[in-house]
């Protein structure tokens, strides 16, 4: 293959589909009960050094509870796919969980501004960084989902984003055009937060899918956190609504409000005050330590975190906001 040009960024994960096949060959096919506590799921399936993917997008349907638990258990030296990673990355940065970072969008919280903690950590030199774009990371997951070592796309070329990526420019065998080959990304483990799942892992969610279907297919291990468990009969009644099938899933954890303080579509809107508080306390390392102690390290679980930040009254308030009920007269 003539390689016209290639980026100088490190490629953190092997795109070899035969190695991935050898792994997927060993993955369990049985429809068995996979319900467990989140802390047990993180203990069993998320290891130091693993490459981590996170579902959702920009503090929307993001598995926040899982991020807290990963930090609480002190995971280190992980790789991380920064695919519009916002509050999830802020939490993982606070724990200095990762040291390899594929970047599409990081260190910011979109219209909310930038996270001092995430910035400081990425600027520290402790993190190896490879540059991508939102769509190129989606394409890398698509390649993995397809079981091929790359798919071609037509952006990224001509830029420093390409130069600091680990992609390669090839020539199209049909048209002679230049194409950017996106290497398959098979995360070791990912977490996706959904509205409903049965005990086997058959999962449903509402609203935008972002790149979660390809992420689910591409990931070697997959933890589902769900707002609630539903019966398998309900899944079987309407299999058209299943978005993630059970055989991709390793653990199912019921975590109500598991995306708080982010948004869960049709359930609760983001807690903007609390997100502002995060970004504000990050500026002062003393305050930030106190804040993390209160909200993360000394919380037994996500329920306690929520209880310390308004509890069910706050959740009802965020539901009114999400559903725009406050606009009704």
């Amino acid at each position: 293959m003539n390689i016209i040009d290639q980026g100088i960024g490190p490629l953190f994960m092997d795109p070899d589909p035969d190695k991935a096949r050898a792994f997927f060959r060993t993955k369990k096919r049985k429809m068995k009960n996979k319900v467990m506590e989140l802390k047990d799921a993180i203990k069993e399936f998320v290891h130091d050094g693993d490459y981590l993917g996170m579902g959702g997008f920009g503090a929307n349907r993001t598995p926040v509870a899982a991020c807290h638990e990963i930090v609480r258990q002190g995971r280190k030296k992980m790789g991380f796919a920064g695919h519009t990673a916002t509050h999830d990355m802020e939490i993982l940065s606070a724990g200095e969980v990762y040291d390899r970072l594929d970047v599409a969008y990081v260190v910011g919280l979109e219209a909310r501004g930038l996270s001092p903690c995430s910035r400081k950590y990425v600027e520290s030199g402790k993190v190896e960084v490879t540059e991508w774009t939102n769509y190129s990371l989606t394409a890398r997951l698509k390649a993995a989902a397809m079981g091929v070592p790359f798919v071609p796309i037509r952006n990224i070329m001509g830029t420093d984003t390409f130069k600091y990526s680990a992609s390669k420019i090839i020539e199209c065998p049909y048209t002679g055009k230049k194409l950017a080959a996106m290497p398959a990304l098979y995360p070791d483990v990912s977490v996706i937060h959904v509205h409903e799942a049965d005990i086997y892992g058959n999962s449903r969610f509402k609203g935008i899918a972002v790149s979660d279907l390809d992420l689910a297919n591409a990931s070697k291990r997959l933890i589902i956190t769900t707002e609630k468990l539903i019966t398998h009969d309900e899944i079987a009644r309407d299999p058209s609504s299943t978005r993630i099938p059970f055989h991709l899933v390793d653990a199912v954890c019921e975590v109500p409000f598991g995306a708080y303080p982010g948004t869960m579509p049709y359930e609760y809107f983001s807690d903007e005050d609390h997100l502002k508080e995060w970004m504000s306390v990050e500026k002062d390392s003393e305050k930030f330590k106190e804040f993390l102690d209160k909200n993360l390290y000394t919380c037994a679980d996500h329920e306690e975190y929520i209880a310390r930040n308004g509890g069910s009254a706050k959740m009802r308030e965020l539901r009114v906001k999400e559903m725009l009920i406050y606009k009704e007269k």
Partner: protein, 255 residues
């Protein structure tokens, strides 16, 4: 022992090859019957996937099409062709059952044409999902009646890959490493493939048949396994399930 026909025999034998807690990509007809029988008897946790997108259905009856409503009845997911085929490509599917108008000694299949491709004597459907399944699924099996017209020295058209030209040729072709033909189940015998040459060899002979019968009904020279077993005929339970639960109207088992 209950009387049985060759279709019942083939389906019963095929069903026993499916390990419990494994996954299988199936089509309509005998393959689907074999998977259903396995699920009911020896492999209750078999994961069945259909190429058009049905994943893990509770099959209420034999489907007519690999995309009809039965293929996702009370399923885990009514997905897409990409959902199934990508899972196969990623190495998630252990078995598949295929058929064809012709098969050669390396387990390659023809379901495209007899005669010249440009103006064929007979046009068959083509690959459908067969080439996909045979390329991706770890262990490809064939269920087919055996005769010299079907088991040929040279295919008119190689639609679906077996071991290609034998030896190392499949590995060199670019197809995923480690997948390939596993067992061939006919109305006379069970064959596998000699590990080095990848040539078809007889490993078990069905009741009432001899190796010579099998060879006579084969257009190429068959190898013999070091030990050739006697195929265990369908059990009463297998036959009961096939006749009463799986195919009560005899669409496949033709009763």
């Amino acid at each position: 022992m209950t009387q049985y026909n060759t279709m019942e025999l083939m389906i019963s034998v095929a069903s026993r090859e499916l390990d419990n807690e494994s996954s299988v990509g199936v089509g309509t007809g005998a393959p689907c019957a074999a998977a259903m029988l396995a699920q009911k008897l020896s492999a209750p946790d078999l994961l069945i996937m259909f190429e058009a997108g049905g994943i893990s259905p509770q099959l209420p009856e034999m489907p007519i099409s690999v995309g009809d409503s039965r293929t996702f009845y009370k399923a885990a997911m009514a997905g897409s062709m990409a959902d199934t085929m990508e899972a196969c490509s990623r190495g998630f599917v252990d078995y598949t059952f295929l058929g064809g108008a012709q098969i050669d000694k390396y387990g390659n299949l023809n379901s495209t044409v007899i005669g010249d491709h440009k103006k064929p004597k007979v046009r068959f459907p083509g690959s459908g999902g067969a080439n996909d399944f045979a390329s991706f699924c770890w262990k490809m099996m064939v269920i087919t009646p055996q005769n010299s017209k079907r088991f040929v020295e040279k295919l008119d058209f190689l639609t679906t890959p077996g071991w290609l030209d034998g030896g190392n040729s499949r590995a060199e072709s670019g197809l995923p490493v480690g997948a390939g033909p596993y067992k061939i189940i006919t109305d006379m015998a069970i064959m596998d493939f000699e590990p080095d040459s990848k040539r078809m060899r007889v490993i078990s002979i069905h009741p009432g048949k001899t190796f010579e019968d099998v060879q006579e009904n084969c257009g190429f020279e068959l190898l013999k396994a070091p030990v050739i077993e006697n195929t265990i005929p369908p059990s009463d339970e297998e036959l009961r399930l096939l006749r009463e639960e799986i195919d009560p109207t005899g669409v496949i088992i033709g009763r």
